[in-house]
């Protein structure tokens, strides 16, 4: 419903994807909760993943990560990309 050909929302113009935007908003809301809901919610924010590099068709030993907040441009994920306007 925005004017046709507009740059779209300000965050997209700044190079952010919808998923990053949505996750940032969610993170801000979680930080404003009262206990005990806050600790439960912050637990939900944790992401565990394991990455292994492949060389010559063989995987090296995987390394495990735990990050507390998805970075704006995670190089490791292929996120579902939803284009909004």
């Amino acid at each position: 419903m925005a004017s046709a050909g507009a740059a779209g929302p300000f965050w997209r113009a700044a190079g952010m994807t919808y998923v990053s935007y949505s996750n940032k908003c969610a993170s801000m809301v979680r930080n404003c909760l009262k206990e005990p809901h806050r600790s439960e919610a912050l637990d939900r924010e944790k992401v565990h993943f394991s990455i292994s590099k492949w060389i010559d068709g063989k995987p090296e030993k995987p390394c495990k990560f735990l990050i507390f907040f998805l970075l704006s441009s995670p190089p490791f994920f292929l996120l579902g990309f939803l284009f909004i306007e």
């Binding site: 419903m1 929302p9 300000f10 965050w11 113009a13 700044a14 190079g15 952010m16 935007y21 949505s22 996750n23 940032k24 908003c25 969610a26 801000m28 809301v29 979680r30 930080n31 404003c32 909760l33 009262k34 809901h37 806050r38 919610a41 704006s72 909004i84």
Partner: protein, 112 residues
């Protein structure tokens, strides 16, 4: 009936609503069930209204408004307003603007 905070404004949904997909902005979703009214703060997301009068509201975080702590909201709003003033790159400005939007919405949810 529900009222959802669409990016195009507050949208009321009753049975028989035209099928719609609406992008939501951070704000309050009000659910009216008979005389009961419950308010939830939605971080952002979508509302899908189907032809069979079923509506789905999808959000990463949706919390009852009384789960929000107003001191933390005030602090966050002040912090992001200050960041918005001192932001230099486009990305920093966008992040600060998002912060201001989300925290102001939470603030109005608590005070409104």
């Amino acid at each position: 009936m529900i009222i959802v905070p669409a990016t195009t404004g507050q949208m009321g949904v009753l049975p028989g609503h035209v099928p719609t997909i609406a992008e939501l902005k951070p704000g309050v979703m009000t659910v009216h069930e008979g005389t009961d009214v419950s308010k939830y703060f939605v971080s952002s997301g979508f509302a899908f209204i189907h032809a069979n009068s079923v509506a789905d509201v999808i959000a990463v975080e949706a919390v009852p408004v009384d789960h929000l702590d107003s001191n933390l909201v005030q602090k966050g709003l002040a912090e992001f307003t200050q960041k918005l003033g001192s932001a230099s790159t486009d990305l920093e400005k966008a992040e600060a603007q998002i912060g201001v939007d989300v925290y102001s919405a939470m603030n109005s949810a608590l005070t409104g």
